[in-house]
Amino acid sequence: MSFWDVLRFAAGALVGHRLRTSLSVAGVAVGIAAVIGLTALGEGARRYVTSEFAALGSNLLIAMPGKVETTGATPFGGVVHDLTLDDLQAVMRLPRVRSAAPLAAGTESVRFGDRSRAVPVLGTTAEFAEVRHITVAAGSFLPAGDPQRGGTEMVLGVTVARELFGEASPLGQVVRVGQWRFRVVGVLAPRGRGLGFDFDDLVFVPVGTAMRMFNRTSLFRVVIEVRVHGEMAETRDDVLGLLVDRHRADDVTVISQDALISAFSSIMRALTLALAGIASVSLAVAGVGIMNVMLVSVTERRAEIGLLKAIGARDRQVLAAFLTEAALLSTVGGLVGLGTGLGAIHVFVRFYPSFPAVPPTWAVAAALGMSVLVGVVFGVWPARRATRLDPVAALVKR
Protein backbone atom coordinates (compact mmCIF):
# COMPACT_ATOMS: atom_id res chain seq x y z
CA MET A 1 0.00 0.00 0.00
CA SER A 2 1.78 3.12 -1.19
CA PHE A 3 1.96 6.45 0.61
CA TRP A 4 -0.38 7.98 -1.96
CA ASP A 5 -2.90 5.18 -1.47
CA VAL A 6 -2.92 5.83 2.28
CA LEU A 7 -3.22 9.55 1.70
CA ARG A 8 -6.07 9.18 -0.77
CA PHE A 9 -7.90 6.79 1.54
CA ALA A 10 -7.50 9.15 4.53
CA ALA A 11 -8.53 12.18 2.49
CA GLY A 12 -11.60 10.30 1.28
CA ALA A 13 -12.64 9.56 4.85
CA LEU A 14 -12.23 13.24 5.79
CA VAL A 15 -14.20 14.51 2.82
CA GLY A 16 -16.94 12.08 3.82
CA HIS A 17 -17.42 14.07 7.05
CA ARG A 18 -17.32 17.63 5.81
CA LEU A 19 -18.66 19.51 8.83
CA ARG A 20 -16.61 17.65 11.38
CA THR A 21 -13.51 17.97 9.23
CA SER A 22 -13.90 21.68 8.64
CA LEU A 23 -14.49 22.37 12.33
CA SER A 24 -11.30 20.67 13.40
CA VAL A 25 -9.40 22.25 10.52
CA ALA A 26 -10.72 25.60 11.75
CA GLY A 27 -9.48 24.84 15.27
CA VAL A 28 -5.93 24.28 14.07
CA ALA A 29 -6.17 27.20 11.66
CA VAL A 30 -7.05 29.60 14.48
CA GLY A 31 -4.09 28.36 16.51
CA ILE A 32 -1.65 28.70 13.64
CA ALA A 33 -3.04 32.08 12.57
CA ALA A 34 -2.60 33.28 16.16
CA VAL A 35 1.01 32.13 16.21
CA ILE A 36 1.74 33.75 12.86
CA GLY A 37 -0.10 36.99 13.63
CA LEU A 38 1.31 37.52 17.10
CA THR A 39 4.89 36.74 16.16
CA ALA A 40 4.54 39.06 13.18
CA LEU A 41 3.45 41.86 15.50
CA GLY A 42 6.33 41.13 17.88
CA GLU A 43 8.82 40.99 15.05
CA GLY A 44 7.33 44.18 13.61
CA ALA A 45 7.80 45.94 16.93
CA ARG A 46 11.41 44.76 17.04
CA ARG A 47 12.13 46.03 13.55
CA TYR A 48 10.38 49.30 14.27
CA VAL A 49 12.45 49.96 17.36
CA THR A 50 15.75 48.94 15.82
CA SER A 51 15.13 51.02 12.71
CA GLU A 52 14.31 54.01 14.93
CA PHE A 53 17.70 53.63 16.54
CA ALA A 54 19.43 52.94 13.30
CA ALA A 55 18.11 56.28 12.03
CA LEU A 56 20.52 57.89 14.47
CA GLY A 57 23.54 57.16 12.33
CA SER A 58 26.13 54.54 12.90
CA ASN A 59 28.95 56.13 14.86
CA LEU A 60 27.10 58.03 17.54
CA LEU A 61 27.43 57.89 21.30
CA ILE A 62 24.79 59.34 23.56
CA ALA A 63 25.58 60.72 27.00
CA MET A 64 22.78 61.24 29.47
CA PRO A 65 22.68 62.28 33.11
CA GLY A 66 22.15 59.51 35.65
CA LYS A 67 23.43 55.96 35.87
CA VAL A 68 21.59 53.29 33.95
CA GLU A 69 22.56 49.66 33.69
CA THR A 70 23.41 48.59 30.13
CA THR A 71 20.26 49.82 28.43
CA GLY A 72 18.81 53.24 27.92
CA ALA A 73 15.84 53.56 30.22
CA THR A 74 15.23 56.61 32.41
CA PRO A 75 17.87 57.37 35.05
CA PHE A 76 16.93 56.67 38.63
CA GLY A 77 18.41 56.68 42.14
CA GLY A 78 21.43 58.39 43.70
CA VAL A 79 22.63 61.99 43.48
CA VAL A 80 22.87 63.02 39.87
CA HIS A 81 25.05 65.90 38.76
CA ASP A 82 23.94 68.08 35.90
CA LEU A 83 25.23 67.40 32.46
CA THR A 84 26.33 70.92 31.52
CA LEU A 85 27.47 72.88 28.49
CA ASP A 86 30.94 72.93 30.06
CA ASP A 87 30.85 69.14 30.01
CA LEU A 88 29.89 69.32 26.34
CA GLN A 89 32.80 71.58 25.51
CA ALA A 90 35.23 69.33 27.35
CA VAL A 91 33.89 66.32 25.44
CA MET A 92 34.35 68.17 22.15
CA ARG A 93 38.02 68.63 22.94
CA LEU A 94 38.62 64.87 23.23
CA PRO A 95 40.84 63.70 20.33
CA ARG A 96 38.64 60.75 19.30
CA VAL A 97 35.52 62.91 19.19
CA ARG A 98 34.82 64.54 15.83
CA SER A 99 31.89 66.62 17.01
CA ALA A 100 29.20 66.75 19.67
CA ALA A 101 25.90 68.53 20.12
CA PRO A 102 23.72 69.15 23.18
CA LEU A 103 20.00 68.61 23.47
CA ALA A 104 17.67 70.42 25.84
CA ALA A 105 14.06 69.52 25.29
CA GLY A 106 10.64 70.82 26.21
CA THR A 107 7.23 71.18 24.65
CA GLU A 108 5.91 74.68 24.10
CA SER A 109 3.31 76.53 22.14
CA VAL A 110 4.85 78.29 19.14
CA ARG A 111 2.87 81.31 17.88
CA PHE A 112 2.84 83.47 14.79
CA GLY A 113 0.11 86.05 14.50
CA ASP A 114 -3.10 84.31 15.56
CA ARG A 115 -1.84 80.82 14.74
CA SER A 116 -0.12 78.59 17.24
CA ARG A 117 1.05 75.00 17.57
CA ALA A 118 2.36 73.01 20.54
CA VAL A 119 5.56 71.28 19.46
CA PRO A 120 8.78 69.93 20.97
CA VAL A 121 11.30 72.75 21.24
CA LEU A 122 14.82 71.41 21.06
CA GLY A 123 17.73 73.49 22.19
CA THR A 124 20.97 72.64 20.44
CA THR A 125 23.94 74.06 18.56
CA ALA A 126 25.09 74.32 14.96
CA GLU A 127 26.96 71.01 15.37
CA PHE A 128 23.70 69.11 15.63
CA ALA A 129 23.05 69.48 11.90
CA GLU A 130 26.38 67.82 11.16
CA VAL A 131 26.07 65.09 13.81
CA ARG A 132 22.54 64.09 12.81
CA HIS A 133 22.93 64.78 9.09
CA ILE A 134 20.17 67.38 9.02
CA THR A 135 19.51 69.26 5.82
CA VAL A 136 17.62 72.53 5.52
CA ALA A 137 15.21 73.21 2.69
CA ALA A 138 15.36 76.99 3.02
CA GLY A 139 17.63 79.41 4.89
CA SER A 140 20.19 77.86 7.19
CA PHE A 141 20.50 75.88 10.44
CA LEU A 142 21.41 77.53 13.76
CA PRO A 143 24.56 79.67 13.48
CA ALA A 144 27.82 78.55 15.06
CA GLY A 145 28.93 80.37 18.21
CA ASP A 146 29.37 80.10 21.93
CA PRO A 147 26.68 77.72 23.15
CA GLN A 148 26.49 79.47 26.53
CA ARG A 149 25.46 82.76 24.96
CA GLY A 150 22.21 81.65 23.44
CA GLY A 151 20.47 83.57 20.66
CA THR A 152 17.13 84.25 19.09
CA GLU A 153 17.37 82.17 15.93
CA MET A 154 14.83 79.45 15.24
CA VAL A 155 14.69 76.61 12.68
CA LEU A 156 11.26 75.12 11.87
CA GLY A 157 10.24 71.59 10.90
CA VAL A 158 8.23 71.50 7.63
CA THR A 159 4.93 70.72 9.35
CA VAL A 160 5.33 73.60 11.78
CA ALA A 161 6.26 75.94 8.94
CA ARG A 162 3.18 74.94 6.95
CA GLU A 163 0.84 75.19 9.95
CA LEU A 164 2.04 78.64 10.97
CA PHE A 165 2.81 80.24 7.63
CA GLY A 166 0.86 78.28 5.01
CA GLU A 167 2.48 78.85 1.62
CA ALA A 168 4.25 82.07 2.67
CA SER A 169 7.97 82.02 3.43
CA PRO A 170 8.67 82.05 7.17
CA LEU A 171 12.27 83.22 6.74
CA GLY A 172 12.95 86.41 8.68
CA GLN A 173 9.57 86.32 10.45
CA VAL A 174 9.30 86.69 14.20
CA VAL A 175 7.76 83.79 16.14
CA ARG A 176 6.83 83.86 19.82
CA VAL A 177 7.23 81.14 22.41
CA GLY A 178 5.73 82.44 25.64
CA GLN A 179 7.40 85.84 26.21
CA TRP A 180 10.36 84.79 24.10
CA ARG A 181 10.73 86.06 20.57
CA PHE A 182 12.63 84.22 17.85
CA ARG A 183 13.56 85.02 14.28
CA VAL A 184 13.12 82.20 11.77
CA VAL A 185 16.40 81.49 9.98
CA GLY A 186 15.66 78.15 8.33
CA VAL A 187 13.16 75.44 7.49
CA LEU A 188 14.16 71.75 7.63
CA ALA A 189 13.85 69.39 4.69
CA PRO A 190 11.15 66.73 5.23
CA ARG A 191 12.65 63.86 7.18
CA GLY A 192 10.13 61.88 9.21
CA ARG A 193 10.53 60.22 12.57
CA GLY A 194 13.64 59.28 14.46
CA LEU A 195 14.17 58.20 18.06
CA GLY A 196 10.85 59.40 19.38
CA PHE A 197 10.86 62.77 17.61
CA ASP A 198 9.03 63.74 14.50
CA PHE A 199 11.65 65.88 12.82
CA ASP A 200 8.99 67.51 10.68
CA ASP A 201 6.98 68.73 13.66
CA LEU A 202 9.46 70.44 16.00
CA VAL A 203 11.58 73.56 16.21
CA PHE A 204 15.24 74.13 17.02
CA VAL A 205 16.51 77.07 19.06
CA PRO A 206 19.94 77.86 20.51
CA VAL A 207 20.64 75.67 23.52
CA GLY A 208 21.53 78.50 25.92
CA THR A 209 18.19 80.17 25.29
CA ALA A 210 16.33 76.87 25.57
CA MET A 211 17.83 76.13 29.00
CA ARG A 212 16.89 79.56 30.31
CA MET A 213 13.44 79.28 28.76
CA PHE A 214 12.79 75.86 30.31
CA ASN A 215 14.60 76.86 33.50
CA ARG A 216 16.91 73.87 33.28
CA THR A 217 20.44 73.47 34.57
CA SER A 218 21.12 70.09 32.99
CA LEU A 219 21.17 69.00 29.36
CA PHE A 220 18.80 66.23 28.31
CA ARG A 221 21.38 64.49 26.12
CA VAL A 222 24.75 65.03 24.53
CA VAL A 223 25.04 63.43 21.11
CA ILE A 224 28.63 62.60 20.22
CA GLU A 225 30.02 61.73 16.81
CA VAL A 226 33.05 59.45 16.92
CA ARG A 227 35.87 60.04 14.44
CA VAL A 228 36.56 56.39 13.61
CA HIS A 229 33.81 53.78 13.72
CA GLY A 230 36.26 51.12 14.89
CA GLU A 231 36.97 53.12 18.04
CA MET A 232 33.46 53.29 19.47
CA ALA A 233 34.36 51.42 22.65
CA GLU A 234 37.53 53.43 23.31
CA THR A 235 35.77 56.70 22.70
CA ARG A 236 32.97 55.66 25.01
CA ASP A 237 35.55 54.99 27.73
CA ASP A 238 37.20 58.37 27.01
CA VAL A 239 33.92 60.23 27.35
CA LEU A 240 32.85 58.34 30.43
CA GLY A 241 36.29 58.82 32.06
CA LEU A 242 36.23 62.53 31.33
CA LEU A 243 32.73 63.04 32.74
CA VAL A 244 33.37 60.90 35.84
CA ASP A 245 36.49 63.01 36.39
CA ARG A 246 34.62 66.28 36.04
CA HIS A 247 31.69 65.19 38.23
CA ARG A 248 33.88 63.30 40.70
CA ALA A 249 31.16 60.67 40.56
CA ASP A 250 30.11 57.88 38.23
CA ASP A 251 26.74 59.45 37.48
CA VAL A 252 26.44 59.60 33.70
CA THR A 253 25.49 56.99 31.18
CA VAL A 254 27.19 56.78 27.81
CA ILE A 255 25.73 54.33 25.36
CA SER A 256 26.58 53.48 21.84
CA GLN A 257 23.61 52.93 19.66
CA ASP A 258 24.79 49.42 18.76
CA ALA A 259 24.38 48.47 22.41
CA LEU A 260 20.98 50.10 22.45
CA ILE A 261 19.85 48.36 19.31
CA SER A 262 20.97 44.92 20.36
CA ALA A 263 19.51 45.35 23.85
CA PHE A 264 16.15 46.41 22.48
CA SER A 265 16.30 43.80 19.78
CA SER A 266 16.81 40.99 22.26
CA ILE A 267 14.06 42.31 24.52
CA MET A 268 11.66 42.41 21.60
CA ARG A 269 12.72 38.97 20.45
CA ALA A 270 11.96 37.57 23.89
CA LEU A 271 8.61 39.31 23.72
CA THR A 272 7.93 37.71 20.34
CA LEU A 273 8.80 34.28 21.72
CA ALA A 274 6.49 34.85 24.66
CA LEU A 275 3.69 35.79 22.27
CA ALA A 276 4.38 32.65 20.23
CA GLY A 277 4.23 30.62 23.44
CA ILE A 278 0.87 32.10 24.37
CA ALA A 279 -0.44 31.46 20.88
CA SER A 280 0.69 27.84 20.93
CA VAL A 281 -1.64 27.18 23.84
CA SER A 282 -4.44 27.51 21.31
CA LEU A 283 -2.62 24.92 19.20
CA ALA A 284 -2.69 22.48 22.09
CA VAL A 285 -6.41 23.14 22.40
CA ALA A 286 -6.76 22.45 18.68
CA GLY A 287 -4.80 19.22 19.19
CA VAL A 288 -7.24 18.04 21.82
CA GLY A 289 -9.99 18.96 19.36
CA ILE A 290 -8.40 16.73 16.74
CA MET A 291 -8.06 13.92 19.24
CA ASN A 292 -11.72 14.27 20.10
CA VAL A 293 -12.76 14.25 16.45
CA MET A 294 -10.62 11.21 15.74
CA LEU A 295 -12.00 9.36 18.76
CA VAL A 296 -15.54 10.07 17.63
CA SER A 297 -14.53 8.96 14.17
CA VAL A 298 -13.05 5.70 15.43
CA THR A 299 -16.13 4.96 17.49
CA GLU A 300 -18.45 5.81 14.65
CA ARG A 301 -16.49 3.81 12.11
CA ARG A 302 -16.17 0.62 14.12
CA ALA A 303 -17.84 -1.34 11.35
CA GLU A 304 -15.44 0.11 8.78
CA ILE A 305 -12.41 -0.79 10.88
CA GLY A 306 -13.78 -4.29 11.42
CA LEU A 307 -14.32 -4.65 7.72
CA LEU A 308 -10.81 -3.43 6.90
CA LYS A 309 -9.46 -6.13 9.19
CA ALA A 310 -11.75 -8.75 7.69
CA ILE A 311 -10.42 -8.00 4.21
CA GLY A 312 -6.87 -8.43 5.48
CA ALA A 313 -5.67 -4.93 6.47
CA ARG A 314 -2.70 -5.16 8.82
CA ASP A 315 -2.79 -3.38 12.16
CA ARG A 316 -0.06 -1.01 11.06
CA GLN A 317 -2.03 -0.16 7.92
CA VAL A 318 -5.08 0.73 9.99
CA LEU A 319 -2.82 2.75 12.29
CA ALA A 320 -1.25 4.51 9.32
CA ALA A 321 -4.65 5.31 7.81
CA PHE A 322 -5.99 6.93 10.97
CA LEU A 323 -2.75 8.72 11.81
CA THR A 324 -2.65 10.09 8.29
CA GLU A 325 -6.18 11.35 8.72
CA ALA A 326 -5.24 13.21 11.89
CA ALA A 327 -2.05 14.60 10.36
CA LEU A 328 -3.96 15.64 7.27
CA LEU A 329 -6.54 17.47 9.38
CA SER A 330 -3.89 19.42 11.24
CA THR A 331 -1.73 20.08 8.18
CA VAL A 332 -4.63 21.49 6.21
CA GLY A 333 -5.53 23.50 9.31
CA GLY A 334 -1.95 24.73 9.45
CA LEU A 335 -2.00 25.85 5.83
CA VAL A 336 -5.36 27.58 6.21
CA GLY A 337 -4.08 29.23 9.39
CA LEU A 338 -0.92 30.36 7.66
CA GLY A 339 -2.96 31.89 4.86
CA THR A 340 -5.33 33.59 7.30
CA GLY A 341 -2.48 34.87 9.45
CA LEU A 342 -0.54 36.27 6.49
CA GLY A 343 -3.72 37.80 5.09
CA ALA A 344 -4.50 39.46 8.42
CA ILE A 345 -0.99 40.87 8.59
CA HIS A 346 -1.30 42.15 5.05
CA VAL A 347 -4.49 44.02 5.98
CA PHE A 348 -2.89 45.30 9.19
CA VAL A 349 0.12 46.69 7.32
CA ARG A 350 -2.24 48.43 4.92
CA PHE A 351 -3.73 50.39 7.81
CA TYR A 352 -0.41 50.97 9.62
CA PRO A 353 2.15 51.16 6.83
CA SER A 354 4.91 52.42 9.13
CA PHE A 355 4.72 49.28 11.28
CA PRO A 356 6.82 46.57 9.61
CA ALA A 357 4.79 43.54 10.77
CA VAL A 358 6.32 40.46 9.15
CA PRO A 359 6.22 36.95 10.61
CA PRO A 360 9.78 35.72 11.13
CA THR A 361 10.70 32.74 8.95
CA TRP A 362 11.33 30.60 12.00
CA ALA A 363 7.78 31.25 13.17
CA VAL A 364 6.29 30.19 9.83
CA ALA A 365 8.39 27.03 9.76
CA ALA A 366 7.70 26.25 13.41
CA ALA A 367 3.97 26.84 13.00
CA LEU A 368 3.74 24.44 10.07
CA GLY A 369 5.93 21.87 11.79
CA MET A 370 3.85 22.20 14.92
CA SER A 371 0.60 21.72 13.07
CA VAL A 372 1.78 18.44 11.56
CA LEU A 373 3.15 17.36 14.92
CA VAL A 374 -0.09 18.22 16.69
CA GLY A 375 -1.98 15.91 14.34
CA VAL A 376 0.42 13.03 14.76
CA VAL A 377 0.77 13.36 18.53
CA PHE A 378 -2.91 13.78 19.22
CA GLY A 379 -3.83 11.24 16.56
CA VAL A 380 -1.78 8.39 17.99
CA TRP A 381 -4.14 7.41 20.76
CA PRO A 382 -7.32 7.31 18.65
CA ALA A 383 -5.46 5.45 15.90
CA ARG A 384 -4.23 2.86 18.37
CA ARG A 385 -7.75 2.41 19.63
CA ALA A 386 -8.75 1.70 16.04
CA THR A 387 -6.11 -1.01 15.65
CA ARG A 388 -7.05 -2.65 18.95
CA LEU A 389 -10.67 -2.99 17.94
CA ASP A 390 -11.95 -6.57 17.89
CA PRO A 391 -13.19 -7.10 14.32
CA VAL A 392 -15.91 -9.56 15.32
CA ALA A 393 -17.44 -7.19 17.84
CA ALA A 394 -17.02 -4.31 15.40
CA LEU A 395 -18.83 -6.09 12.56
CA VAL A 396 -21.82 -7.34 14.52
CA LYS A 397 -24.76 -5.00 14.65
CA ARG A 398 -26.32 -5.38 18.04
Binding site: M1, G12, L308, K309, I311, A313, V392
Partner: protein
Protein backbone atom coordinates in the same frame (compact mmCIF):
# COMPACT_ATOMS: atom_id res chain seq x y z
CA UNK B 1 -8.44 -27.56 3.50
CA UNK B 2 -10.25 -26.39 6.65
CA UNK B 3 -10.01 -28.43 9.80
CA UNK B 4 -11.23 -27.74 13.32
CA UNK B 5 -10.01 -30.05 16.08
CA UNK B 6 -12.01 -29.90 19.32
CA UNK B 7 -12.37 -26.11 19.09
CA UNK B 8 -14.01 -24.29 21.99
CA UNK B 9 -14.82 -20.63 22.32
CA UNK B 10 -16.18 -19.21 25.54
CA UNK B 11 -17.34 -15.66 26.15
CA UNK B 12 -17.40 -14.11 29.55
CA UNK B 13 -20.72 -12.30 30.05
CA UNK B 14 -21.28 -10.58 33.36
CA UNK B 15 -19.00 -13.02 35.19
CA UNK B 16 -20.62 -16.17 33.87
CA UNK B 17 -19.19 -18.05 30.88
CA UNK B 18 -21.18 -18.41 27.66
CA UNK B 19 -19.91 -21.38 25.69
CA UNK B 20 -20.42 -20.39 22.06
CA UNK B 21 -18.53 -23.42 20.76
CA UNK B 22 -18.04 -26.67 22.66
CA UNK B 23 -15.28 -28.87 21.38
CA UNK B 24 -16.36 -28.64 17.77
CA UNK B 25 -14.52 -30.74 15.19
CA UNK B 26 -15.03 -30.40 11.47
CA UNK B 27 -13.31 -30.84 8.13
CA UNK B 28 -14.26 -29.05 4.95
CA UNK B 29 -12.58 -29.99 1.72
CA UNK B 30 -11.62 -27.84 -1.24
CA UNK B 31 -14.53 -26.87 -3.45
CA UNK B 32 -17.26 -27.98 -1.02
CA UNK B 33 -20.54 -26.15 -0.60
CA UNK B 34 -21.53 -26.26 3.06
CA UNK B 35 -24.56 -24.75 4.75
CA UNK B 36 -24.38 -24.05 8.47
CA UNK B 37 -27.80 -24.04 10.12
CA UNK B 38 -29.21 -24.03 13.63
CA UNK B 39 -31.21 -21.93 16.06
CA UNK B 40 -30.18 -18.43 17.02
CA UNK B 41 -27.28 -18.41 19.45
CA UNK B 42 -26.16 -21.91 18.51
CA UNK B 43 -22.66 -20.71 17.56
CA UNK B 44 -22.82 -20.51 13.75
CA UNK B 45 -21.30 -17.05 13.47
CA UNK B 46 -18.67 -17.88 16.06
CA UNK B 47 -17.65 -20.90 14.00
CA UNK B 48 -17.49 -18.81 10.83
CA UNK B 49 -15.37 -16.14 12.52
CA UNK B 50 -12.87 -18.72 13.68
CA UNK B 51 -12.68 -20.25 10.21
CA UNK B 52 -12.27 -16.74 8.80
CA UNK B 53 -9.38 -15.90 11.16
CA UNK B 54 -11.37 -13.05 12.69
CA UNK B 55 -11.57 -14.83 16.04
CA UNK B 56 -9.30 -17.28 17.83
CA UNK B 57 -10.23 -20.55 19.52
CA UNK B 58 -9.81 -20.70 23.29
CA UNK B 59 -9.06 -24.40 23.04
CA UNK B 60 -8.40 -26.79 20.20
CA UNK B 61 -6.71 -26.32 16.85
CA UNK B 62 -7.71 -24.66 13.64
CA UNK B 63 -5.81 -25.77 10.56
CA UNK B 64 -5.89 -24.01 7.21
CA UNK B 65 -4.31 -25.92 4.33
CA UNK B 66 -2.72 -28.21 6.90
CA UNK B 67 -1.11 -25.44 8.96
CA UNK B 68 -2.17 -24.54 12.49
CA UNK B 69 -3.27 -20.89 12.32
CA UNK B 70 -5.65 -20.63 15.30
CA UNK B 71 -2.78 -19.47 17.47
CA UNK B 72 -0.58 -18.04 14.71
CA UNK B 73 0.80 -14.50 14.68
CA UNK B 74 -1.65 -11.77 13.70
CA UNK B 75 0.51 -10.96 10.69
CA UNK B 76 0.06 -14.51 9.33
CA UNK B 77 -3.69 -14.45 9.92
CA UNK B 78 -4.07 -11.03 8.28
CA UNK B 79 -2.24 -12.40 5.25
CA UNK B 80 -4.68 -15.35 5.13
CA UNK B 81 -7.66 -13.00 5.35
CA UNK B 82 -6.21 -10.88 2.60
CA UNK B 83 -5.39 -13.66 0.13
CA UNK B 84 -7.26 -16.85 0.96
CA UNK B 85 -10.51 -15.86 2.62
CA UNK B 86 -13.43 -13.83 1.37
CA UNK B 87 -16.21 -12.61 3.66
CA UNK B 88 -19.81 -11.70 2.86
CA UNK B 89 -21.95 -10.27 5.66
CA UNK B 90 -25.66 -9.95 6.25
CA UNK B 91 -25.34 -6.16 6.47
CA UNK B 92 -23.08 -5.84 3.39
CA UNK B 93 -20.57 -3.61 5.19
CA UNK B 94 -19.82 -1.45 2.18
CA UNK B 95 -18.11 1.86 2.90
CA UNK B 96 -20.79 4.45 2.10
CA UNK B 97 -18.29 7.10 0.94
CA UNK B 98 -16.79 4.86 -1.75
CA UNK B 99 -18.29 3.93 -5.09
CA UNK B 100 -19.04 0.31 -5.93
CA UNK B 101 -15.71 0.11 -7.72
CA UNK B 102 -13.95 1.79 -4.79
CA UNK B 103 -15.40 -0.79 -2.39
CA UNK B 104 -14.29 -3.64 -4.61
CA UNK B 105 -10.80 -2.14 -4.84
CA UNK B 106 -10.44 -1.99 -1.06
CA UNK B 107 -8.88 -5.46 -0.44
CA UNK B 108 -6.41 -4.86 -3.27
CA UNK B 109 -5.56 -1.43 -1.85
CA UNK B 110 -4.48 -2.95 1.45
CA UNK B 111 -2.75 -5.86 -0.30
CA UNK B 112 -0.57 -3.38 -2.17
CA UNK B 113 -1.90 -3.94 -5.67
CA UNK B 114 -1.03 -1.07 -8.00
CA UNK B 115 -3.64 1.47 -9.02
CA UNK B 116 -4.05 0.51 -12.67
CA UNK B 117 -4.33 -3.18 -11.87
CA UNK B 118 -6.85 -2.43 -9.10
CA UNK B 119 -9.06 -0.60 -11.59
CA UNK B 120 -8.91 -3.40 -14.07
CA UNK B 121 -9.59 -6.21 -11.60
CA UNK B 122 -12.37 -4.31 -9.84
CA UNK B 123 -14.03 -3.77 -13.16
CA UNK B 124 -13.74 -7.46 -14.02
CA UNK B 125 -15.14 -8.48 -10.63
CA UNK B 126 -18.10 -6.12 -11.01
CA UNK B 127 -18.67 -7.45 -14.49
CA UNK B 128 -18.74 -10.99 -13.07
CA UNK B 129 -21.57 -10.03 -10.69
CA UNK B 130 -23.37 -8.15 -13.45
CA UNK B 131 -22.83 -4.68 -12.01
CA UNK B 132 -20.28 -3.14 -14.38
CA UNK B 133 -22.71 -0.34 -15.35
CA UNK B 134 -23.12 0.57 -11.66
CA UNK B 135 -19.39 0.85 -10.93
CA UNK B 136 -19.53 4.56 -10.11
CA UNK B 137 -22.63 4.36 -7.92
CA UNK B 138 -22.41 4.70 -4.18
CA UNK B 139 -24.00 2.08 -1.92
CA UNK B 140 -26.97 4.31 -1.09
CA UNK B 141 -27.78 4.44 -4.80
CA UNK B 142 -27.98 0.64 -5.02
CA UNK B 143 -30.66 -1.85 -4.03
CA UNK B 144 -30.03 -4.43 -1.31
CA UNK B 145 -29.40 -7.21 -3.82
CA UNK B 146 -27.01 -5.00 -5.77
CA UNK B 147 -25.16 -4.07 -2.61
CA UNK B 148 -24.70 -7.71 -1.73
CA UNK B 149 -23.41 -8.42 -5.21
CA UNK B 150 -20.88 -5.61 -4.81
CA UNK B 151 -19.88 -7.20 -1.48
CA UNK B 152 -19.45 -10.53 -3.26
CA UNK B 153 -17.29 -8.90 -5.92
CA UNK B 154 -15.19 -7.41 -3.12
CA UNK B 155 -14.93 -10.80 -1.38
CA UNK B 156 -13.68 -12.64 -4.47
CA UNK B 157 -11.56 -9.94 -6.12
CA UNK B 158 -8.41 -11.26 -4.42
CA UNK B 159 -9.25 -14.70 -5.79
CA UNK B 160 -9.58 -16.44 -2.38
CA UNK B 161 -9.87 -20.18 -1.74
CA UNK B 162 -12.83 -19.88 0.62
CA UNK B 163 -15.91 -17.67 0.65
CA UNK B 164 -17.53 -17.35 4.07
CA UNK B 165 -21.03 -15.90 4.06
CA UNK B 166 -22.94 -15.08 7.26
CA UNK B 167 -26.64 -14.95 6.34
CA UNK B 168 -25.90 -13.31 2.99
CA UNK B 169 -29.58 -13.30 2.05
CA UNK B 170 -30.89 -12.31 5.48
CA UNK B 171 -31.65 -8.79 4.36
CA UNK B 172 -32.86 -9.54 0.85
CA UNK B 173 -36.18 -10.35 -0.75
CA UNK B 174 -36.64 -13.74 -2.32
CA UNK B 175 -35.74 -12.73 -5.87
CA UNK B 176 -32.53 -10.94 -4.86
CA UNK B 177 -31.67 -13.80 -2.51
CA UNK B 178 -31.91 -16.25 -5.39
CA UNK B 179 -29.76 -14.06 -7.60
CA UNK B 180 -27.10 -13.79 -4.92
CA UNK B 181 -27.12 -17.52 -4.22
CA UNK B 182 -26.91 -18.40 -7.89
CA UNK B 183 -23.94 -16.07 -8.20
CA UNK B 184 -21.92 -17.63 -5.41
CA UNK B 185 -22.93 -21.15 -6.36
CA UNK B 186 -21.59 -20.50 -9.83
CA UNK B 187 -18.31 -19.47 -8.25
CA UNK B 188 -18.43 -22.64 -6.18
CA UNK B 189 -18.81 -24.70 -9.34
CA UNK B 190 -15.57 -23.09 -10.56
CA UNK B 191 -13.75 -24.35 -7.44
CA UNK B 192 -14.40 -21.78 -4.72
CA UNK B 193 -15.06 -23.41 -1.33
CA UNK B 194 -18.31 -22.05 0.07
CA UNK B 195 -19.54 -21.91 3.67
CA UNK B 196 -22.93 -20.26 4.11
CA UNK B 197 -24.61 -19.61 7.44
CA UNK B 198 -28.37 -19.38 7.01
CA UNK B 199 -31.71 -19.58 8.74
CA UNK B 200 -33.54 -20.13 5.51
CA UNK B 201 -34.27 -23.83 4.82
CA UNK B 202 -34.64 -23.07 1.09
CA UNK B 203 -31.15 -21.60 1.00
CA UNK B 204 -29.73 -24.43 3.12
CA UNK B 205 -31.44 -26.92 0.85
CA UNK B 206 -29.34 -25.74 -2.07
CA UNK B 207 -26.15 -26.91 -0.39
CA UNK B 208 -24.81 -30.39 -0.86
CA UNK B 209 -23.71 -30.69 2.74
CA UNK B 210 -25.68 -29.27 5.65
CA UNK B 211 -24.24 -28.98 9.15
CA UNK B 212 -26.69 -28.51 12.01
CA UNK B 213 -25.55 -26.75 15.15
CA UNK B 214 -27.20 -26.48 18.55
CA UNK B 215 -25.82 -24.99 21.71
CA UNK B 216 -22.27 -24.72 20.43
CA UNK B 217 -22.08 -28.28 19.17
CA UNK B 218 -22.31 -29.91 15.74
CA UNK B 219 -25.36 -32.13 16.08
CA UNK B 220 -25.85 -33.30 12.54
CA UNK B 221 -23.66 -33.31 9.46
CA UNK B 222 -24.98 -34.92 6.31
CA UNK B 223 -25.22 -34.59 2.62
CA UNK B 224 -28.72 -33.71 1.57
CA UNK B 225 -30.54 -31.18 -0.54
CA UNK B 226 -29.94 -31.12 -4.23
CA UNK B 227 -26.21 -31.80 -4.01
CA UNK B 228 -24.18 -31.86 -7.14
CA UNK B 229 -22.96 -35.22 -8.29
CA UNK B 230 -19.29 -34.65 -8.57
CA UNK B 231 -16.76 -36.40 -6.40
CA UNK B 232 -14.64 -34.52 -3.87
CA UNK B 233 -11.67 -35.73 -1.91
CA UNK B 234 -13.18 -34.54 1.33
CA UNK B 235 -13.56 -36.30 4.60
CA UNK B 236 -16.12 -35.76 7.35
CA UNK B 237 -15.25 -36.24 10.96
Amino acid sequence: MIELRAVSRTYEVGGSPVRALRSASLRIGRGEHVALVGPSGSGKSTMLHIVGCLDRPDEGEFLFDGHEVGAAAEEVRAELRARKIGFVFQFFHLLPRLTAAGNVELPMLFAGVGRAERRERAHAALEAVGLAPRATHRPDQLSGGERQRVAIARAVVMDPAVLLADEPTGNLDRASALEVMELIEAMNRRGLTLVVVTHDPAIAGRARRVIHMADGELVDDREEGRGKREENDRGVS
